[in-house]
Amino acid sequence: MFTWGNFISQCFNGLVLGALLALISSGLTIIYGTLGVLNLAHGAMFMLGGYAGWVAYTYTGSFIVAVAAGAIFVMLVGVVTERLIIRHFYARPHEDQLLVTFGLGIVFVELVRYFFGSLSKTVPPPQALAGITPLGFMVYPTYRLALLGIVTVALLALYFILYRTRIGMIVRAGIEDAVMVDSLGINIQKVFMLVFGIGAMAAGFAGIVNAPVVAVAPDVGDAILVQTFVVVVIGGVGSFPGAVLGGLIAGEIISLTSMFNPAYSYVMLFIAMTLVLVLRPYGLLGTVGRE
């Protein structure tokens, strides 16, 4: 049913969800843009971030330590995975890359299930961010408000790294033309490893900061992975601003549709993706011909 209060509330929901999707998708899109590898283990990395954070939280009781642990652990997983496995697949067909990352995703999920079981784990929000905040049009969980801020800061940090540092410049150049960057004497191998690490870290960070919202379970990344792909397609492959825009659009579509009929929210999301694919196959902010 439509009321203005509900509409504004749902817009707000969409913003929070969209920001989160933007963060996860930006990790996926820079990996794909730079390395040309579609990382199907991205959802599992999101999940790993949640578990690493949960373990750290269980031992220290500190949310900040948990967030740091989630991000750093998954970055290390990313770096090691790139070094040991992904690297050997750059020259191989896309299907092989899909299979190996898909397989890695299953391995991560099942390892976690083996060690921690299927029962979901809860990471409570820090004391200061627990509770509810009245916003006038509705009451909203304080932590979700904070999450909006946290994710925005993380996206800004990522923006800074990509657009204001030398390494970011190399990464962006690598997205456009990896061979040329290599020819110019830059060790593209090292850059690739770093990009994979940063992309994974974005997922891991999102995984732990999202943990107080939805709890952590071995298959928490499955649904996220699909939505993230949609975001990347809508925003444009390899485009960081595209991931942010696509994330926000996807979040709003899901939230606003559910105001009328929640069952159609994902249908609408896929319709939007189809429309983008038909009208702008390279995505809203993508570049023509980029692979």
Binding site: N6, R144, V213, V214, P218
Partner: protein, 453 residues
């Protein structure tokens, strides 16, 4: 090739030898030395499903396709333990099993029972694939599993087609023994309609008439039928009004959009029909959004491990209708035996999924041993006599019209932390309803069972 085919089809050349060969080609291996008996069997009881091939060795196989991953993983693992314990008890003449199925004798009809299981992820396709594999490899004689009525309904149809007995695990949909019922399926557990008719009276008694409720419904047969039954009872008997029904796909993680709609709906009661982890997450998030404790949470169809996962601060005071809760051991001696045996083996007290699984297998073992044959139509006919048989919570019977077990349903209420006697003492049984009083007429949901052969 064509010559031998012709000769098989030509009645004038049909000798006993040919007949045996033809039957053998149909998937039946005749036991050597049976002589006339084998001939008689082949004549009036043609091979059906995995019979008799599945019961000719020293072991008979039963198979469970159960969710070990996904939203219902936790409940599926508990169920599986119930089946494991039942099979162990069947094979070892455990006193409890001997009470439920007296003719069990270190197995059924002289065969050991072995349980095969596979992960269904609560997905119909995956469950059917697993079942097919077990039929091909092990010639299983009983299928089970579900913990999603979408799976139960699909398995029902599969079982009927393959002519293999099927007992759903947890399946809360009215359709499982309603419009999607089959001759080869028997359900022990309670379901949406029974749950609604059990929890309804106590809700009306506690909270009075004319209240406003919001439903959260998972988008498949269990969710829709359970919501409909609950809504109907409270509306017709107490004038309760549904202000919104939020339907979400199975496996939803973020319920913020649904909860926002509910927050703006003016509801006083949050009727959460979601199940498994969906129920846990949606209830936890309802608390985050301030809906709880402002609204009163009700779980029409109890979710095993809900209180443990969601936390006692959420489950406290919550009403739920259930098949079983372990404190029933104080009232029912057989329940006590079961809880003790289960806890000894697995280290925790069983939830209702394990109870339903255990009793289902016990009832199957009873029916097969009483029939004295694995021949499915005979077993079904014996089952359809609808005799009163023991369960963990008193005597029950199966209805011949829809193969639903008529059994008591219990209403529990979440305890406060301070009232818990031990770490698993989450619920207090506050009401018991007789199965006969809360079940609909066998024809109400359009059950047509189908053929025996």
């Amino acid at each position: 090739m064509s010559q031998s085919r012709d000769s098989k089809l030509n009645p004038s050349r049909l000798t006993r030898r040919r007949m045996l060969q033809a039957t053998g080609a149909g998937g039946v291996t005749m036991v050597p030395g049976l002589g006339h008996m084998g001939w008689a069997q082949a004549q009036d009881k043609p091979a059906i499903g995995t019979w008799p091939a599945g019961s000719q060795g020293n072991t008979v196989y039963v198979a469970a396709a159960v969710p070990l991953t996904g939203t219902y993983a936790v409940q599926g693992a508990d169920e599986l333990k119930g089946w494991e314990l039942a099979v162990e008890h069947i094979n070892t003449n455990h006193p409890l099993m001997k009470t439920l199925a007296p003719k069990v004798n270190n197995g059924v009809l002289g065969k050991k029972v072995e349980l095969k299981s596979a992960d269904s992820a609560a997905k119909p396709n995956q469950a059917l694939q697993a079942a097919q594999t077990f039929i091909n490899q092990n010639k299983v004689i009983l299928l089970t599993g579900s913990t999603s009525s979408a799976v139960a309904v699909a398995m029902n149809k599969f079982a009927q087609r393959e002519k293999i007995l099927y007992m759903p695990g947890i399946s809360g949909s009215n359709d499982t023994t309603g419009k999607d019922c089959v001759r080869y399926g028997f359900r022990q557990g309670y379901f949406g309609e029974m749950a609604a008719n059990s929890i309804g009276p106590i809700l009306l008694k506690t909270f009075g008439r004319d209240r406003k409720m919001a439903f959260m419904t998972p988008d498949y047969t269990y969710g829709h039928t359970t919501t409909e039954s609950t809504e109907r009872f409270l509306r017709d008997k107490g004038g309760w009004k549904t202000v919104t029904n939020q339907v979400s796909p199975l496996g939803t993680q973020d319920f913020s959009q649904y909860l926002t709609n509910i927050a703006n709906s003016g509801a006083e009661f949050l009727m959460n029909v979601n199940w498994g982890r969906d129920a846990v997450l949606s209830s936890q998030q309802a608390k985050q959004f301030g809906l709880l404790p402002k609204m009163t949470l009700v779980l029409p169809y109890q979710i095993p491990f809900f209180a443990k996962e969601a936390g006692v601060d959420i489950s406290e005071g919550v009403f739920a209708a259930t098949d079983f809760w372990w404190t029933l051991e104080d009232k029912y001696p057989l329940a006590k035996q079961f809880v003790e045996a289960f806890q000894k083996k697995f280290g925790y007290r069983p939830e209702w999924g394990a109870e339903n699984a255990y009793v289902s297998f016990a009832h199957w073992a009873r029916m097969v041993t009483e029939t004295g044959s694995f021949y499915p139509p005979d077993v079904i006919k014996h089952w359809e006599k609808g005799e009163k048989i023991p369960s963990l919570v008193g005597d029950v019977h199966y209805r011949p019209e829809d193969h639903q077990c008529v059994r008591p349903v219990f209403v529990v209420r979440g305890k406060a932390k301070k009232d818990m006697r031990n770490a698993e003492d989450f619920w207090e049984v506050v009401d018991t309803q007789r199965g006969e009083d809360v079940i609909q007429s066998p024809t109400a949901f359009g059950c047509k069972l189908g053929d025996y052969t």
